[in-house]
């Protein structure tokens, strides 16, 4: 028995999962039995119409809310049993809206991502990680500037750098990056840049889950796609399978069809 339990736990090492999650938030039912298993090393994209529960599911997976029923687990262990500090060293989340009115400099904001790792010296290892994260998020050139003076897209890149810095050096176990609409407010070049970065992180062994509105970005970058509607995960699988025009047309309430692109690949357009 004991051996089997150990074996099972080892199986789930690195896995981030939601198990039959129901969640009432502010008197509204946002998740109704959502289940999802995500493995590190892959970029999982959550799609679905407005109010489908994508951000709520991401929040539950991040440990931000206590589900009314069901649970979220990391390494097979319920998130409720993780200390906030330990959890913060294993997963980072880029939120949709981060308001920061105080004039931290860009590198100081990114350094906040190192908070879970203790009061380390600035010029030591943390400094190197901050620099690397700034480069990785295309925010290196913003160093020294007061955060409130940045444009919306610049702020988004700085926040991404902060999130990357938080789990940059997770070594003993795969870390998770949860991105809630990371492309929001970015120009087209930076949209693709951010998703390429997410893909690259997944290749390095990170688990990455991103909520996206742009189905074409999902088509192009996702290793897996999960389609949500009405607080439930309807489908979860490879993009070609989940992004089925018939299923999507029902989910979104808008007739969609695939349009083949020259040189391979396809996009979804209104029928």
């Amino acid at each position: 028995m004991k051996n089997m339990a150990l074996h099972r736990a080892a199986d789930r090492h690195g896995e981030l999962a939601a198990e039959g999650v129901h969640w009432w938030r502010d008197g509204r039912r946002v998740l109704e039995g959502a289940s999802l298993k995500a493995q590190p090393g892959r970029l999982l994209v959550l799609i679905g119409p407005n109010g489908a529960g994508k951000s709520s599911l991401l929040a539950v997976l991040a440990g931000l809310g206590q589900p009314t029923q069901g649970r979220a687990t990391l390494d097979g262990r319920s998130l409720a049993n993780w200390t906030p500090e330990a959890l913060a060293r294993r997963r980072a989340m880029l939120s949709q809206q981060v308001q920061l009115g105080f004039a931290f400099r860009v590198e100081e904001v990114v350094r906040l991502g190192r908070s879970p790792h203790g009061a380390a010296r600035e010029d030591g290892r943390d400094g190197e990680i901050v620099d690397a994260a700034l480069r990785a998020a295309h925010a290196w050139s913003l160093r020294g500037r007061p955060y409130p003076q940045l444009s919306g897209g610049e702020k988004q890149r700085v926040q991404l750098a902060r999130v990357l810095a938080q789990v940059w050096d997770a070594r003993d176990a795969p870390a998770w990056l949860l991105l809630d609409e990371p492309e929001a407010g970015l120009d087209i070049a930076h949209q693709h840049f951010v998703l390429r970065r997410a893909q690259a992180m997944a290749r390095q062994g990170f688990g990455v889950i991103a909520v996206l509105h742009d189905l074409d970005l999902a088509v192009r970058y996702a290793d897996e796609v999960a389609l949500l509607a009405q607080g439930r995960v309807l489908r979860h699988g490879p993009p070609a399978q989940v992004l089925d025009p018939a299923v999507l047309s029902t989910a979104y309430g808008l007739p969609l069809r695939r349009e083949r692109l020259e040189g391979g690949g396809w996009v979804l357009v209104p029928a």
Partner: protein
């Protein structure tokens, strides 16, 4: 762009320089405070008095003025100024608003209600207080009133997530306490009215070693504990959700912050009455110079607030000597225009505010 430019060096390198400079400023202010007053004593005489004290030599009358009147008063000014400024910095972090004031959580208004109630009704409640105990009654009631109002604000504010409810509860409790004070003022006699007026203008007069000893624990404890929350406060500037994602516990942090600030500001108001602007202006100014990182801001505010209040108190003792100007008048008189100047010069919210 902001015209106050700062080297973009990391906080760990800025910290010793900044805190060192402020400590020197505080020491200079304290020396000025010790060597100024209605009695003309040269600085050398002041140092001699300190020497007598430390060396155990017999004290004469001038020594007495320095050691019994000025020294406890200067130290009290340091404590009160440090508590107000550091508490202000913490509240601005908690509310994520550089214009927040310790009064937002109701502690000042509650303290005012407590003090005014005892000035007005103390003799009814506690029987006719002996004159020697009465002033402590006012201070104790101010302290208790501040804590009670804060507790009420917190109890209401915690019912919903985020600081908005807390803020609005603070506004409502402030208004209610203000109305209650208004009723008491309406009922006050001429003498009580003048007592209330002077209390609300603030004063460090009457500071002695005993009062200092009473005020020290509730101000020093938060002053020492708050800097330990600096990293959490930094994270909190991103919002409660981000702080939580970064591994902090925002609910617990909020509770701790409010408790510590209520303790220190309640004690400061009890010791010195209403002294405005210190909690707002000191952290604000320091943030403009050294940025918003609380690891530097909290201790810097304590030192800077102490220095400012010692200087203001010294000025209040000197300008109208042998009478004293209420210190709250001075801080508002100096702080108001200075704040406006900052506002116009730095364009709040855009610069390093």
């Amino acid at each position: 762009m902001n015209s106050i430019v700062v080297a973009a060096s990391p906080v760990s390198r800025r910290r010793p320089v900044a805190l060192g400079a402020l400590a020197v400023l505080l020491a200079a202010a304290a020396l000025w405070g010790l060597s100024s007053g209605a009695m003309a004593l040269p600085a050398g005489r002041v140092l001699q008095a300190l020497g007598h004290w430390l060396g155990g030599a017999p004290l004469d009358a001038d020594d007495h003025v320095v050691l019994m009147l000025r020294l406890p008063r200067v130290l009290m000014a340091v404590l009160v100024g440090a508590a107000l400024a550091c508490g202000g910095a913490a509240m601005q972090g908690l509310f994520r608003n550089p214009l927040a004031d310790p009064g937002l959580i109701g502690v000042s208004a509650g303290a005012a209600l407590g003090a005014v109630a005892v000035i007005m009704l103390g003799h009814l409640v506690i029987g006719r207080l002996p004159e020697a105990v009465a002033p402590y009654g006012v201070a104790a009631a101010a302290f208790a009133g501040g804590l009670a109002a804060t507790l009420l604000v917190y109890a209401i504010g915690r019912r919903r997530p985020g600081v908005a409810t807390l803020l609005l509860a603070g506004v409502a409790i402030n208004a209610m306490a203000g109305a209650a004070v208004g009723v008491l003022i309406f009922l006050a006699s001429e003498t009580q009215l003048r007592d209330i007026t002077f209390w609300s203008l603030g004063s460090l007069g009457g500071s002695d070693w005993l009062r200092l000893a009473i005020a020290a624990p509730p101000t020093l404890l938060p002053l020492l504990l708050l800097p330990r929350l600096a990293r959490a406060l930094n994270a909190l500037l991103l919002g409660e959700q981000e702080a939580s994602l970064l591994g902090f516990r925002p609910q617990r942090l909020r509770r701790t912050l409010i408790a510590l600030v209520a303790l220190m500001v309640g004690a400061a108001v009890a010791a010195a009455g209403m002294v405005g602007f210190v909690g707002l202006i000191v952290p604000h100014l320091l943030r403009m110079v050294w940025g918003p990182d609380h690891r530097l801001l909290l201790p810097a505010s304590a030192l800077g607030g102490g220095a400012l209040l010692v200087a203001a108190d010294t000025l209040s003792r000197v300008v109208a000597a042998p009478a004293e100007l209420p210190i709250g008048v001075l801080t508002a008189l100096l702080g108001g225009p200075f704040f406006l100047w900052l506002l116009l010069r730095a364009r709040l919210g855009e610069g390093r505010a």
